[in-house]
C-alpha cells in the first residue's frame, strides 16, 4: 500500500502541448473577440456590397426582354437613334433617362460601369476566398488545440480521481486510529496533506484544460458560423460575378458592331446637317449621307448576325440565379428560426437548472478557482 501511494505521489504526469496558462488562454480569447468583431464588421460590409451590387446588376436583366427588338431595328436602319437610346436603357446600370449625348459615349460609359462592378465583385471574391481559407486553417489549428486540451483534461481528471481515492483511503485510516497524535497518525496526516496539495495542483490543471476546451470550442463554433456565412456570401457573389460576366461577354462580343452603328447614326445625321448649307436638293444630300453611313458601317452586316444580347439562355441563367438566391434566403430564414428555438431551449434549460450561461457545456472556471 505504502509503495503504491509513493508511486502515485511521485508520478510524473505529462501534459501535451505548450502555452496553456490562464494568461495565455485569456490572451487568446481576447484576441479572438477582437477578430470576431472585425469579422462581423467585414461581413456586414460584404453583405451590403453584395446587396447593392445584386440589386444594380440583376433588376434590369430580369425585367427587360425587348433589347433584341431594339437591336434588330438598329441594324435594319429603322429609327436608329431612338432605338439605340431604347437599347441603352436596357443595359444594366444607369437605368435613368439617357441624357442628350453621343450614343457611343453613353455606350462606352455603361460598359465601363458594368465592367467596374464585375471587377469589384472579382476583388471581393478573392478577398473572401482568402478569408475562407484562413478560417479553415484556423479552425483546424483550434480543433487540434481543443483535442490536446481534452486529452490533458482527461489525463488530469484521471489522476485527480486516483489521488482522491487514495485520499479517502488515508482519511479512513486516520479515522480508524485511536491515537490521533501518534507517529502513525502523523505520518498519515503528512501523506494526506501531500495528496491534497497534488490534488489542488492537478485540479487546477483539470480546470484550466476543461476551461480551455470550452473556450476553444466556443471560438471554433463562432469561426464555423463565420465560415458558413462567408461561404454563402461567396457563393452569392460568385453567382453575381458569373451572370455579370455573361452579360458583359454578350455585350462586348457585339460591342464593335454596336459602336459602328451608333457612330454611323450620329455622324451621318450630323453630316446631313452640314451638307444642307450647300443648298443642294434634299435628295442629293440624303444620298451622300447614306453612302457615308455605309462607308462607316461596312462591317456592320456580319456583326449584326450574332446580336443576341439577353437571349433566352441568358434570361434563363439570370432567372435561375435569382430563383437560387430566393431559395437560399428561404433556407436562411428556416435556419434562423431553428437557431432561435435551440437558443430559447438552452435558456429555458438554464433557468430550470439554475445555470447562468445558456451554453451546451458549462465552463469549469479558471485555474485556482
Amino acid at each position: 500500500m505504502a509503495t503504491d501511494l509513493d508511486a502515485l505521489l511521485g508520478r510524473e504526469v505529462v501534459y501535451d502541448g505548450e502555452g496553456y496558462s490562464r494568461e495565455a488562454l485569456q490572451g487568446m480569447v481576447t484576441e479572438y473577440q477582437g477578430r470576431h468583431q472585425s469579422n462581423l464588421k467585414s461581413l456586414e460590409e460584404l453583405s451590403k456590397a453584395h446587396d447593392d451590387l445584386a440589386s444594380e446588376m440583376t433588376k434590369d436583366l430580369a425585367d427587360n426582354k425587348t433589347a433584341w427588338e431594339h437591336l434588330k431595328n438598329i441594324f435594319t436602319f429603322r429609327k436608329v437613334g431612338s432605338n439605340f437610346r431604347g437599347l441603352l436603357e436596357k443595359i444594366p446600370l444607369i437605368s435613368d433617362a439617357v441624357p442628350d449625348r453621343a450614343i457611343n459615349d453613353l455606350l462606352e460609359e455603361k460598359i465601363e460601369v458594368a465592367q467596374r462592378r464585375v471587377q469589384q465583385i472579382g476583388n471581393y471574391l478573392d478577398q473572401m476566398q482568402s478569408q475562407v481559407e484562413a478560417l479553415q486553417v484556423d479552425i483546424t489549428r483550434l480543433n487540434k488545440r481543443m483535442i490536446v486540451a481534452a486529452v490533458n483534461e482527461e489525463r488530469a481528471a484521471s489522476y485527480v480521481l486516483e489521488l482522491e481515492t487514495a485520499l479517502s483511503a488515508i482519511e479512513a485510516q486516520i479515522a480508524g486510529l485511536d491515537e490521533e497524535k501518534g507517529a502513525e497518525a502523523r505520518a498519515l496526516q503528512v501523506q494526506r496533506d501531500e495528496l491534497k496539495q497534488i490534488i489542488w495542483r492537478h485540479g487546477a490543471k483539470l480546470r484550466l484544460y476543461s476551461n480551455a476546451e470550452d473556450r476553444i470550442a466556443a471560438i471554433v463554433k463562432m469561426n464555423n458560423n463565420f465560415l458558413e456565412i462567408l461561404t454563402n456570401l461567396h457563393a452569392n457573389m460568385q453567382t453575381l460575378y458569373d451572370s455579370g460576366n455573361e452579360v458583359l461577354n454578350e455585350l462586348t462580343g457585339n460591342l464593335a458592331g454596336l459602336a459602328s452603328a451608333a457612330k454611323a447614326a450620329d455622324l451621318t445625321q450630323e453630316m446631313q446637317g452640314a451638307m444642307e448649307s450647300l443648298k443642294e436638293s434634299v435628295n442629293k444630300v440624303a444620298v451622300l449621307a447614306s453612302e457615308t453611313s455605309l462607308y462607316l458601317t461596312q462591317n456592320v452586316e456580319r456583326m449584326t448576325s450574332e446580336m443576341k444580347i439577353y437571349d433566352e439562355a441568358t434570361q434563363q441563367l439570370v432567372e435561375s440565379n435569382l430563383a437560387a438566391e430566393r431559395e437560399i434566403k428561404e433556407q436562411r430564414i428556416d435556419e434562423t428560426i431553428e437557431l432561435a428555438r435551440k437558443e430559447y431551449g438552452h435558456f429555458q434549460e438554464a433557468r430550470r437548472t439554475g445555470s447562468h450561461t445558456p451554453v451546451e457545456r458549462q465552463p469549469s472556471g479558471g485555474e485556482g478557482a
Binding site: 457611343n104 467596374r116 476566398q129 464593335a256 455622324l267 450647300l278 453612302e291 462607308y295
Partner: protein, 358 residues
Amino acid sequence: MEPLRFELAVDGPLPEPRTVEAAAAETRPRFIGGEAADAYVQRLVRAIGAARLNAFFPDARRLTRHLSFLGGAGSHGVYDGLFVARSSGLPTAREVLRVKIDGDLAEDFLRDVAEQRPPSPESPLARRIAYYRELSAAEVMQLNHMSVELRQRRESDGAALFRVRYDRFDLASEMFVRYTILLTQHGAGGVRGVRFEEELARATEGFRRIISRFASDEAELCFVLLSEEPNIVVEDVRRCRIGPLLGAGSKLASDEQSADALAALLDPARSQLPDPWILCFPEDRAGLDVTANSSGDALAPLLRDALSEQSRTLLDRKADELGYRVAKQRKFVCPRGLQKPLAALCRKLGAPSVVRGI
C-alpha cells in the same frame, strides 16, 4: 486605286444572317491563354516600340505599359490569358478597359487588404495584391482624355488658337486613336467652346462633348462637322491609330488587289514565315495646309473614292468651301522577313510606306 464598291441597301432590311454560329465564329473575340498570350503581348509591345511613333500618335510609352499588364504574366496570374478582337487583331475593349479599371480600383483594394491578415503566398489574393501594387505605380493609358493647349492669342481680333489632343479607345474599330485638332476660336467661347480661367485654357463640357462626338471616325468628317460650330475655324485635323494587327486569316477591308497580295504575305505557306504578322499605324488628315487629296495608304481609300459621282461632287464642294484637302498614309512594323516584300507591295500599289522590321 479601285474605289470600294457598295451595294446600297438602305431602303430595305439587311439580309438575314446565315447562322448565328457561322457569324459568331467570324466575329467573336479569340481567346489566347498561357504562354501564347504572354508571347502575343510581348510581340505587340515590341512592335509598338519599334514603330518610333511621333506625338500625333497615342503615347507609346503609356500604351506599351498598359498592354504589358495583359495576359497571365502581366497580371501576375490574376487573369489566365486575354481576348483578341478578330477585326483589329488587338486586345478587345474589355481587356483594355480591364487594366484601366483595375488601376482605378487598386488603391482602395490595397488599403482594404492591408488591414487583413496577409494571404498565403501564391494564393489568388497574394497574386492580385502583387498585380495591383505594380499597376498602381504604373502610368497607363487614359482611355478618354482631352487636353487643350493655347498656341497663340491674337490681340488684333481677340482670336485664340488652340491645339486639342483627344485620346480615346475607339469601340467600333477596337483600336487606340489620337486626334490632334488645330482650331481658332473667335470670341469668348460660350458654352460649347474653350474658356480662359487664370490664363489657362479650359474646355467647357459642351466643347468636350462636340469633340467627343465628332472625333469618332475619319479626320475629314471631324473637320467638316466641327466647322459647323459658330465661332470656330478649323485648320487641321489629324487622326492617328494603332492597329490593326494583321495575321493569317485577317479580314482586310481593302480592294481586291491589295487584299489578295496582303493575304499572300500573311499566309505562312506562301510567305515562308512560321507566323507572319503586320502591325499597322494608319494616319489620316484633313487640313488647310494639305495641298491635294492623296491616299498614300494601300489599305484604306479616301471617303470621296468610296462615294458615287454625285455624292463626291457634293463633298468636294464642301472641301472647297472650307478650304481643306485630305491625305492618308500608313506605316508598318513586321518581322524582318516580311519587311522587303511588304515595302515592295506598298510601292506596287502606289502607296510607298515606311516599313520597319523587328
